[in-house]
């Protein structure tokens, strides 16, 4: 089977266990990265499917990678037809803004303005592409690495920063950890810190839509590592049993903090094939190729809206940065992996596509990037004026007692008083 970690056997000499195996990544620090085990397929090779195709038609997509862009920025095959020129421009802008936001917040963290941040460096195409396939009224259930959704939806970055700074204008009033946003009005479900829990919730939301004869769909996201949780398996089962209109997106970025996707079984079978084993149609998609991401999600969304139920989509990508600002990946993976990832960088690839097709000039893209930088700098200045929790200008203390229940119970009211409010 293809995947990331090809090394099936433990090589550690001290291991005495009879066949006991602990997956070992292809490269630890100081070793040479090896991506040869990944089945990269070829752009344009897989045939375009009909949105209402029978489940069996998806079989070639379980192990072969759906790709549109080659590594020179050229688009291939019929899937490309599902993406318009406007889509590409909108997506590039949202991806560039996402990256500029991340860069700004990483800097803010180093400056002590927030104790914590998580970037999605190298994974921008996934959240942005999927969002362009949704409509207002749909609901996405993201993890902490889908901030791209918010840029594709047009959320004001200052408001996101207010949440990160847990300040007086934080829409969540300081209740939640930085980056665990909630934006109901943008179809963005409140992010949980507990991995995997939202996978079956997204399925349930979609079941409700089907029950009410609605055409709204849900989008679920999960990391490769978190698929090990029981919730992933149960969500897949429910989606299949009830034919829930939900896009089930596994973001396979190869790493879960310090362990590889092999700990979630990725070297034995693809996530796409495993979702298919629940009877779901499933696709394996180049997650660093915006055109492939958007095409796959658009077709899947169309299928779900037509009442044909869920589609499982595995996005192959690479976590370029540290897990979070509390993490140091040089301790557990080879530095060279980042540049060695065979599917490149999603923004570089889309930029190149825009240039080779003449959709945008290098100068226009340059302006886009400069504008994004300025936008984020200015947003940060405004957010900082609203306070920083670490400078003692956090959200209203008394707000802590509100929202535990719809109505504050007597005991809590007593405690609030005891706390001096």
């Amino acid at each position: 089977m293809d995947g990331f970690a090809r090394t099936d056997t433990v090589t550690d000499q001290r291991d005495q266990g009879r066949g006991f195996r602990v997956p070992k990544p292809p490269a630890r620090p100081g070793e040479t990265p090896d991506f040869s085990g990944i089945n990269l397929g070829e752009p344009g090779k897989l045939p375009l499917l009909d949105a209402e195709a029978p489940v069996e038609a998806f079989e070639p997509f379980h192990h072969d990678l759906l790709r549109v862009l080659d590594m020179d920025g050229k688009a291939h095959g019929d899937w490309a037809g599902l993406v318009t020129d406007d889509d590409k421009k909108t997506a590039l802008k949202a991806m560039i803004r996402t990256r500029a936001f991340d860069a700004r917040m990483m800097r803010a963290q180093r400056q002590g303005k927030t104790s914590f941040y998580m970037q999605c460096l190298g994974e921008e195409a996934i959240a942005v592409g999927a969002t362009l396939a949704t409509r207002d009224g749909d609901m996405q259930f993201p993890t902490y690495r889908q901030q791209g959704i918010l840029f594709a939806k047009g959320v004001d970055p200052e408001v996101m920063m207010n949440q990160i700074y847990s300040n007086r204008k934080d829409p969540l009033q300081g209740k939640q950890l930085p980056v665990l946003y909630s934006f109901k009005e943008y179809g963005f479900f409140t992010i949980s810190g507990n991995l995997g829990t939202q996978w079956p919730q997204a399925v349930g939301w979609a079941m409700a839509s089907a029950i009410k004869n609605d055409d709204k769909i849900a989008v679920a996201y999960i990391g490769d590592g978190a698929t090990a949780e029981g919730d992933w398996h149960q969500g897949n089962l429910f989606a299949s049993v009830y034919r829930a209109p939900v896009l089930l997106c596994v973001v396979n970025n190869q790493w879960a903090i310090s362990t590889t996707a092999a700990f979630a079984g990725a070297d034995k079978n693809t996530f796409a094939a495993r979702m298919a084993s629940y009877g779901l149609p499933a696709l394996r998609v180049d997650g660093n190729d915006l055109l492939a991401v958007l095409a796959a999600c658009r077709l899947s969304a169309q299928r779900a809206r037509a009442g044909l139920g869920a589609v499982g989509i595995e996005f192959l990508t690479y976590r370029r940065g540290a897990h979070s600002t509390s993490d140091d990946p040089t301790k557990y993976r080879a530095k060279e992996e980042v540049e060695g990832w065979p599917l490149g960088d999603p923004i570089d690839r889309l930029k190149q596509h825009m240039i080779v097709t003449g959709l945008m000039t290098a100068d226009e893209i340059d302006t886009l990037e400069k504008d994004a930088e300025t936008e984020m700098r200015e947003a940060e200045n405004r957010a900082e004026e609203n306070g920083l929790v670490h400078a003692g200008q956090g959200a209203e203390p008394a707000a802590m007692f509100e929202g535990v229940y719809a109505e504050m119970p007597g005991r809590l009211r007593e405690q609030m008083k005891e706390a001096g409010f």
Binding site: G230, F263, V389
Partner: protein, 345 residues
């Protein structure tokens, strides 16, 4: 407590825990250590660092992100005869394993009438004080102390962390160890705006090398006094000492260390002497472990009490991010309670 070596070394809590694993693994081949990121990387808090390198991947290894699977597999290994020591990355993420812990690990000895046992240890970082927000700050001890068949420990310093972990590994029954993560790198008295203190200058940061144990079920009096008994554990041991100084009352501060089993004798003796009792924990108040302590003190010491027993706890809200220091029961709140209880007529 039994000590076979007297050479001591300054250790923070992380080093002491790592050392306890090392000592136990060295002494007993059946001890295996695993958890999310606990193998190659040595744990996100580094408590298992170096063990895989020293003992190999069959004795210390990474696990899938599947807490229920981790504990379930641990139970099976224990049934075979191994001594699994499991790390759950944060106590907030232990709940997927609650079924395996409360219905399985805790019940196997009883339901098989002793044919099968479950000598596993589950270590997990607990408590707040690190701006971790709701899902890196909770104190879930009471959901375990409510389960008979489990033992529940919570060390407040490197010395106890090492001695209790070795004792837990040797214990024939399942033991949960909640490690206050705010104490990993130094004692924390609840003054978040003051400089971090290390364990270097703290008596309990001086840890014997090699093997020793701290007896499970024994509390430790960290300050003797006559005016009021303070029952606390974890982070609150340090907060209560600071509060005692703030309040200037002659408090007897007891670090329970072991919540299940509980050192009732130490509690009873102290409360009968002082006639007053303040109970302090970080967890939410309603049905928290303090409720059990209060009931026990009332049952056993009622006729010696001169004032109502008082609890200082986290508020009954989820653990907030921005309002961490309003939530966290710091020395000011504890000091006020101490004064009130001591002055009550």
């Amino acid at each position: 407590m039994s000590e076979t070596l007297s050479n001591t070394k300054t250790m923070n809590m992380i080093e002491a825990i790592r050392d306890a694993h090392d000592v136990a693994m060295e002494r007993d081949d059946d001890v295996v250590v695993f958890g999310e990121d606990a193998g190659y990387f040595g744990g996100v808090f580094r408590c298992t660092a170096g063990l895989q390198e020293k003992y190999g991947t069959s004795r210390c290894f990474d696990a899938p992100i599947a807490e229920s699977g981790i504990v379930g597999a641990g139970i099976g290994m224990a049934a075979y005869g191994l001594k699994p020591v499991i790390e759950i990355q944060f106590a907030d993420y232990i709940t997927p394993a609650y079924d395996q812990i409360s219905q399985e690990a805790a019940r196997i000895r009883y339901r098989s009438n002793g044919q099968f046992t479950c000598p596993i240890v589950i270590r997990t970082p607990t408590g707040g004080g690190i701006y971790g927000g709701q899902t890196h700050s909770q104190s879930p001890e009471a959901i375990f102390t409510h389960v008979t068949g489990l033992k529940v420990l919570i060390p407040s310093n490197p010395y106890d962390a090492k001695g209790l972990l070795i004792a837990a590994i040797e214990d024939p029954d399942p033991v949960i160890i909640l490690e206050p993560k705010r104490l990993y790198n130094g004692p924390f008295e609840g003054y978040h705006d003051r400089a971090l203190k290390g364990w270097k200058d703290h008596e309990d940061g001086q840890v014997p090398e090699g093997y020793y144990t701290v007896e499970i079920g024994k509390a430790k009096t960290v300050r003797a006094g006559n005016a009021v008994t303070v029952l606390c554990y974890g982070n609150m041991v340090h907060v209560c000492q600071a509060a005692q100084e703030e309040a200037g009352v002659d408090a007897e501060i007891i670090d329970l260390r072991s919540l299940l089993p509980l050192d009732l004798e130490a509690i009873e003796t102290s409360v009968k002497k002082t006639g007053r009792c303040v109970i302090v924990h970080e967890a939410t108040k309603t049905c928290g472990y303090g409720a059990e302590l209060m009931a026990l003190v009332q049952e056993r010491c009622f006729y010696h009490l001169e004032a109502p027993i008082t609890r200082v706890t986290g508020w009954d809200t989820p653990y907030p991010h921005a309002q961490e220091w309003t939530y966290f029961p710091g020395p000011t709140r504890v000091a006020a309670a101490l004064k009130k209880v001591v002055e009550a007529k």
